[in-house]
């Protein structure tokens, strides 16, 4: 019997599905598998789709995938929804809009709960992208949780970021000025069959024209109108995504982005290792006492942290 990595690489969907489960659970063997998968990944274009709740992300992704299938691409989709901070449970509903895609062997959809991560993705989303990439899915589309202003983590995972804005947000477009406005490679005004779409396009174009420090000097951020309901503007959007991919390759930005991403990934892995070491060294009872002491102001958090850091061998 082949191992799970070999089966994943040969296109076994159940092996990929279980690999994602192991990655999400931070199973001890997952890092070893991921190290192997890393050798086979790096081929997929990673497209992030973000925007506020109800902006139309899932419907847009469904249309995108349909168009990409017409172009004979094998598409991976990761859809992230929020985990309840109270119960740890989650309702993952992005599949509802994507069910029409079910049954096509060249589409793989996986729902992920954010599991306490705050940046719009789950902590292990990047590793799940790696698994889908290695399994031959290209592009891999990552749909974030419905975002507010500051959930910009997708830019550290995706190569092309689509920011979806629904019309009728009026003055609320202010809300995306900072943070999310800055991470868009392409703006998508969704629900273009509804009134107000042209005004939203105009407002976004105006905001962009004010941006004198453009992150990507040679890339003019397009503002595109789509309607999932009438299936309009989708082909143009897929063209724009491909154009951005070419731009990234030719300008050298792809390599730069990859380097930044790898750097933040290694930093994250180190932090995880530290967190694990801490758990090994400090018992839950010790934690409880420590937290109580600091809460009662019998000691301060800084010396407590220093003491623990010393015990893990950090200082």
């Amino acid at each position: 019997m082949q191992n799970i990595v070999e089966r994943l690489l040969s296109g076994d969907r159940r092996a990929l599905a279980r690999m994602v489960t192991l990655i999400e659970a931070e199973a001890p063997q997952a890092r070893g598998y991921l190290a192997e998968l890393h050798q086979h990944a790096g081929r997929a274009h990673i497209v992030g789709v973000t925007g506020s709740p109800g902006a139309g992300k899932s419907s847009l992704v469904t249309c995108l995938v349909r168009e990409l299938r017409d172009r004979e691409r094998k598409v991976g989709i990761i859809a992230v929804d929020p985990t309840s901070p109270f119960t740890g449970g989650a309702i993952l509903g992005d599949r509802i809009r994507m069910m029409e895609l079910a049954g096509d062997p060249n589409i793989f959809i996986r729902s992920m709960a954010s599991r306490g991560n705050l940046g719009g993705l789950a902590a292990s989303t990047r590793d799940v992208v790696r698994a889908m990439d290695a399994a031959g899915y290209d592009p891999v589309i990552v749909e974030t949780v419905g975002t507010g202003q500051a959930e910009v983590e997708v830019m550290r995972t995706a190569q092309t970021v689509l920011v979806v804005v629904a019309p009728g947000m009026g003055d609320d477009i202010q809300a995306i000025k900072a943070g999310i406005l800055e991470i868009a490679d392409i703006f998508v005004v969704s629900k273009a069959d509804k009134p107000g779409a042209d005004q939203t396009v105009a407002e976004l174009a105006m905001l962009l024209s004010l941006d004198s420090h453009r992150r990507q000097a040679a890339w003019r951020i397009p503002v595109l109108k789509t309607s999932a309901f009438k299936v309009q503007g989708i082909s143009e959007l897929v063209d724009a995504v491909q154009k951005h991919q070419v731009y990234l390759q030719e300008s050298g930005s792809l390599a730069q982005r990859a380097q930044r991403q790898v750097q933040s990934e290694i930093q994250n892995l180190i932090l995880q290792t530290v967190a694990r070491a801490l758990k090994d060294v400090v018992s839950e009872e010790e934690w409880r006492i420590l937290v109580e002491d600091v809460t009662k102001r019998e000691r301060d958090p800084y010396s407590a942290a220093a003491e623990l850091a010393a015990r893990v061998g950090l200082i």
């Binding site: 599905a17 659970a25 199973a27 001890p28 119960t87 599991r115 839950e284």
Partner: protein, 153 residues
């Protein structure tokens, strides 16, 4: 309610421990999914990750979703009376795909005389109107196959 910050599993980092994943599916042509939504919400509040498919799913769609999402349990809600046509198909497709470690249960309008046949298909639980949420939550917790968390298909 106390805040658990969603990562209560971090206290047992070295063991595999994760939320139970459940697919709540609505096969058949009836569009009455209030029951399915109530169940989905209750399981969520019990700390599970619930993937809801939406209404009017074919057996193929349900099995495909169960595979891709690698769920621990599939709960099907059906009120149209088509269960004796749909359930065997779902079980057959699961078998064809070698999915033998997933708990399958059903709810909705399931006449008493059909229950033995449904259970004989390998559908472990049948829950009619009036079932307490606690009963379903306990059923899922006690019957998902714990060892599937550590096995590699």
């Amino acid at each position: 309610m106390t805040e658990t910050s969603g990562n209560n599993r971090s206290s047992i980092l070295h063991d595999i421990s994760r939320p139970i994943r459940v697919l709540v599916a609505k096969p058949g042509l009836d569009g009455h999914d209030r029951g399915a939504k109530v169940i989905a919400r209750a399981l969520r509040d019990a700390g599970m990750e619930v993937i809801y498919t939406g209404i009017r799913q074919t057996p193929e769609m349900i099995v495909e979703a169960a595979i891709q999402e690698d769920v621990d349990a599939v709960l099907m809600s059906i009120l149209s009376g088509a269960h004796m046509a749909i359930f065997p198909k779902v079980m057959e497709l699961l078998q064809q795909n070698n999915v033998d470690d997933v708990l399958v249960a059903a709810g909705g309008i399931l006449p008493d005389e059909d229950i033995p046949a449904i259970k004989a298909m390998g559908i472990k639980g049948c829950f009619g109107p009036g079932t307490l949420m606690e009963e379903i939550i306990r059923f899922v917790r006690e019957n998902v196959q714990a060892e599937r968390l550590a096995t590699e298909v």
